[in-house]
């Protein structure tokens, strides 16, 4: 497989060009869907990097929510509306928290890793729900962003501008993560999953590698949350910080499959579309669809949607095998 030339970066660049043109043409409701899908996908890339090492976090809504609330609070209390500054602040704060908690979490594996993340995220949830100043369970609204001084009169133009920024950011993140995964440190990802002791014997520190991976995932979750806050124009604890939000991120990760950095974008878009139509046609069956899909993927398609797409394109061999193993 390594003998094949990796054309991911070229593919991503072409996809970026296509997406930029497409998003300028599509109706506004699809622009919104794309905003939500790509914002979530950025966070999911981080979870995918963890998932490749067989680490599942039931608490990444901590960083997703922190990113979202950072953006919202800066806008509300300091009047900063520049999208780049806001997202940068969200990224910085969530990375800092991830770096600090990473010292503890890098020693944990399996369900203990999942549980400790859950506990940390529920602490933030507990604080937000009881803070009147931040609207408790209702949350509060986020001001429309500006872009290096340019403010858009028309809300729809603003959304489109945000989508352009988000698309370029997604491209940059995907390319960077792809570079990371192909580096020695990134290749340790699957090695640690397979046998941590052997990795140690090779002279690498598994804990160190996991710490880096963890910080990367928190950075991406923070950025994704920040974009989500701007896209929704609203933050609230139940849809962004509660454990169900973490569960949603995990679900999209499994749905997308670990095969490629491009997978989360596809998985996340399918997730948004599914949710929109489910809310319309079967309002009380949304969770059933999510849960049922999760079970189907675990049992029948360990490589997720990416493996399915690859099989349809006819490049299936080898790609799905990076799935979940037994």
């Amino acid at each position: 497989m390594t003998l094949l030339r990796d054309r991911t970066v070229q593919g991503l660049t072409i996809a970026l060009g296509v997406m930029l043109i497409v998003s300028a043409l599509v109706p506004s409701w699809i622009v919104n869907q794309l905003l939500f899908a790509f914002a979530r996908a950025i966070a999911v890339i981080g979870l995918m990097v963890l998932w490749r090492t067989r680490l599942v976090s039931f608490g990444h809504a901590l960083y997703f929510g922190l990113g979202a609330y950072t953006v919202a609070m800066l806008g509300r209390f300091t009047g900063i509306t520049d999208a780049f500054v806001l997202i940068g602040a969200a990224a910085a704060l969530s990375t800092l928290l991830g770096f600090l908690l990473g010292f503890i979490l890098r020693r944990y594996r399996d369900i203990y890793f999942a549980m400790l993340n859950l506990a940390f995220s529920m602490i933030l949830y507990g604080i937000l729900v009881k803070t009147e100043l931040l609207g408790s369970t209702d949350g509060f609204s986020v001001a429309a962003p500006t872009f290096v001084g340019i403010a858009f009169e028309d809300a729809q133009d603003g959304k489109l501008a945000l989508l352009f920024v988000l698309l370029v950011a997604s491209w940059a993140i995907a390319v960077a993560v792809q570079g990371y995964l192909r580096s020695t440190l990134g290749r340790l990802t699957t090695a640690i999953r397979d046998n941590e002791i052997r990795v140690e014997y090779l002279g690498y520190s598994a804990e160190h590698a996991i710490h880096i991976k963890y910080v990367l995932s928190t950075l991406l979750a923070g950025v994704g949350g920040g974009f989500m806050a701007l896209a929704l124009g609203q933050v609230d604890p139940d849809s962004m910080v509660n454990w169900t939000a973490s569960g949603e991120l995990v679900f999209v990760t499994i749905l997308s499959g670990p095969g490629s950095v491009a997978a989360p974008f596809i998985g996340s878009f399918v997730f948004e579309i599914l949710r929109t139509y489910a809310a319309e046609w079967m309002p009380h069956a949304w969770q059933m669809i999510v849960g049922g899909t999760l079970l189907v993927i675990i049992f029948f398609m360990p490589g997720g949607m990416w493996a399915l797409a690859m099989r349809l394109v006819g490049r299936g061999k080898g790609h799905g095998a990076e799935g979940m193993g037994r």
Partner: protein
């Protein structure tokens, strides 16, 4: 003094509730090493079934005390049906796979079962106040409380004793202990581990449903209320040590009392403090305060 007593009393009631709900979770983890997210759905199903049947019984003119029989019946029914469906239908195919994948599978099942509730029972809340109204309220040391809430403490004590006796004094309990101790060795000795798993999961599900069924009369049973219970019972089980029954008692008491203290003294920290305790325990004693004894295998 009065506040201290109130906190103690409310804390005990809440602890008892937590203990009953978390017991099933810890038993299932102890025997099967499965972190069962579906537990929240067992709880919700227990509550819905009990509330629905109590409502039916009241309309049919049954006496109010029948509610207590219905609660017990609902717990057993839900545990048997859902526990067996889930264990036989899904989990039995996953035992050889990764722990984390099993968690995800139970998470998927939880989501499905949550929506099946909506399909079966609809979205309107249910009220089943009859058993609570029957017992009225009682004054203890100057504060008035529902008698029904206080009976939770009694129920928790009974459940604890039944569980202890079941594990230590019956043949089934000894089989389960053997499987907890060493699964492969038990299998080699001719023990039917598949059946032990099935029974354990069903009994665990019954305890989860019992928690929901018993709480049903005190609240309005509405969609989505299994969600908070999962993380609370995770906190209890983690604090005590996953898989340990005495641990569940300690965990339930810690969470219950700490939360009661927060509710009365620092209401804004009510949720925060529970998870802060959970995180602290995980950081300093990842195996919990009362880790189950582990044999060192060579």
């Amino acid at each position: 003094m009065d506040t201290a007593f109130t906190i103690l009393l409310d804390g005990l009631v809440f602890s008892s509730y937590l203990f009953i709900v978390s017991l099933g979770l810890t038993i299932i983890f102890g025997v099967m090493k499965i972190l069962n997210v579906t537990h929240g759905a067992f709880y919700a199903w227990g509550a819905y079934t009990a509330a629905f049947l109590i409502g039916l019984a009241a309309n049919a003119g049954w006496p109010d005390w029948a509610g207590f029989v219905i609660i017990l019946f609902s717990a057993i029914l839900v545990g048997l049906v859902l526990g067996l469906i889930l264990e036989r239908g899904i989990l039995q195919f996953m035992y050889h796979r990764d722990e984390v994948l099993i968690v995800l599978a139970t998470f998927g099942s939880f989501l499905v079962l949550e929506d099946v509730i909506l399909l079966v029972f609809g979205v309107d809340p249910y009220f089943a106040y009859q058993p609570m109204a029957l017992l009225g309220s009682v004054e203890l040391g100057g504060i008035t409380r529902d008698t029904y809430g206080l009976t939770l403490i009694g129920l928790a004590a009974v459940v604890a004793v039944v569980c202890w006796a079941g594990l230590k004094r019956t043949r089934w309990g000894k089989l389960i202990s053997a499987v907890i101790f060493d699964r492969e060795m038990s299998e080699t000795m001719g023990l039917n581990v598949t059946r032990v798993y099935m029974v354990t999961f069903t009994v665990g599900a019954m305890f989860g449903a019992l928690g929901g069924a018993y709480v049903a009369p005190t609240i309005s049973v509405a969609p989505g209320f299994g969600i908070d219970v999962i993380v609370l019972s995770f906190a209890v089980v983690v604090i005590g040590g996953m898989g340990s029954v005495p641990g569940a008692i300690v965990g339930a008491l810690s969470v219950g009392l700490v939360r009661a203290l927060a509710v009365h003294k620092f209401p804004q920290f009510e949720l925060f403090i529970v998870y802060a305790v959970m995180a602290t325990v995980l950081v300093f004693r990842p195996e919990g305060l009362f880790p189950p004894i582990k044999l060192r295998k060579i």
